[in-house]
Symmetry: C2
Subunit: 212 residues, 2 copies
DNA sequence: ATCCTAATGCAACTGTTGTCGCATTTATGG
DNA sequence: CCATAAATGCGACAACAGTTGCATTAGGAT
């Protein structure tokens, strides 16, 4: 009952057309990326429509719809292309200091103008692609922050054998996200430090220790 | 330079037409509210459009657009009308227990089906009215939670003269919101308890004490 | 050079969103 | 009961989002 073995290629499925990411395709992508950023700066998130991006980039509407599907896809692609910067967490010499500096970066990102981060969060509620890209972004960021916890452990700031670094980082940053992204309350200059102090204090008391 | 005092009414602006919230208006409002809920149950948030709600309620499209403006306005009105339930925070006998129970309610609300809470959060990024309604809702909830902190203080669980109850409550609940509403990660059954324990621990160490 | 076809351009089309002017209904005050 | 106008119903419309079929351009392999 075996189908005859094909001579050179998979027979049943369309044989995966050879991609062609050369000159023009890359140029179009760069044009669209630039247009997304410019459009965000010029008109804000409400003005970020596929049509506006296409018009600004000079690329045809249909092409943008075909390659990026919707605004969420556009933002996801821009975010992915910007994710491989050499970002590293701050290193101030103490856990609380590191977390405070980290929280200040988070607060700055959430309140910057144009509101790229807020635009992406908003888009993540409408586009699965944007939600996935945002999840990847945060996962990458939290992974890069692991050294903050490792350094604290090496300094003896953390009790127990091991610490759940992700839980600690989420506990430290979550209040900032909650206030700015969900409650939409005005930025509190003291919040980054107090949230960091709270998390560092709890971590010092073993709140994030793992049994292993 | 004082303008002459009007005899009976404000002269310059259109004299605030007498509202007429009587029979039909109230009936229409009830019909639309019911339709919003039914539509959410039937089609989820993606299917919650003004047209769908209008069709389901039997009220004309134009009327819904005029009175509620958009989906955010619909959800905001439904939320406001449901906000005066007699909700009270849990009372388990300890700060950590209260916060754990509270966090479990938050987690249940964010993961319930139909996803009313998530729909409102999503809408709050597109509609100022929904954002304002959500802010009012959370403000009300946090205000009602003040007794949780007061009881803990009365039991001697909190050091210092006074505690910033809002900051404590935000610190306790923020990780749950962050994971479920922003990171969109699967629900972690242990998170409500660990976040509550973390916050209670930090509170016991004086992290939320206010100088006054 | 030349062939193949992926990628793009183009125009027309459908369906949805939101608005506007006007007719009709019906609270509400007298 | 009557008069007024707020609230709603109704249809047409403009603007936008997104799709489809086909023509054209240009990357990449031979």
């Amino acid at each position: 009952m075996e189908p005859p073995a094909p001579s050179t290629d998979m027979p049943q499925d369309p044989p995966a057309p050879r991609r062609r990411p050369g000159g023009r395709t890359a140029r179009v992508r760069a044009l669209v990326h630039g247009a997304v950023r410019e459009q965000l700066v010029a008109e804000g998130y409400d003005g970020l429509t596929v049509d506006a991006v296409a018009a600004r980039s000079g690329v045809h509407r249909t092409t943008v719809y075909r390659r990026w599907r919707d605004v969420g896809g556009l933002l996801a692609d821009v975010l992915d292309s910007a994710a491989d910067d050499g970002w590293a967490p701050p290193d101030t010499g103490s856990l609380e200091g590191d977390l405070t500096a980290l929280n200040e970066e988070v607060a700055a990102g959430l309140t910057e103008d144009p509101p790229i981060a807020m635009a992406l969060i908003a888009a993540s509620f409408r586009s699965p692609e944007a939600a996935e890209a945002l999840r990847r972004f945060w996962d990458d960021r939290y992974r890069r922050c692991a050294p903050v916890v490792e350094r604290a452990a090496a300094r003896g700031e953390l009790p127990g054998a091991a610490t759940d670094d992700r839980a600690l980082l989420v506990a430290a940053t979550a209040p900032v996200y909650h206030r700015l992204a969900l409650l939409r309350a005005p930025a509190d200059p003291a919040l980054p430090a107090t949230a960091a102090r709270t998390a560092a204090l709890a971590a010092g008391a073993g709140a994030f220790a793992v049994p292993g």
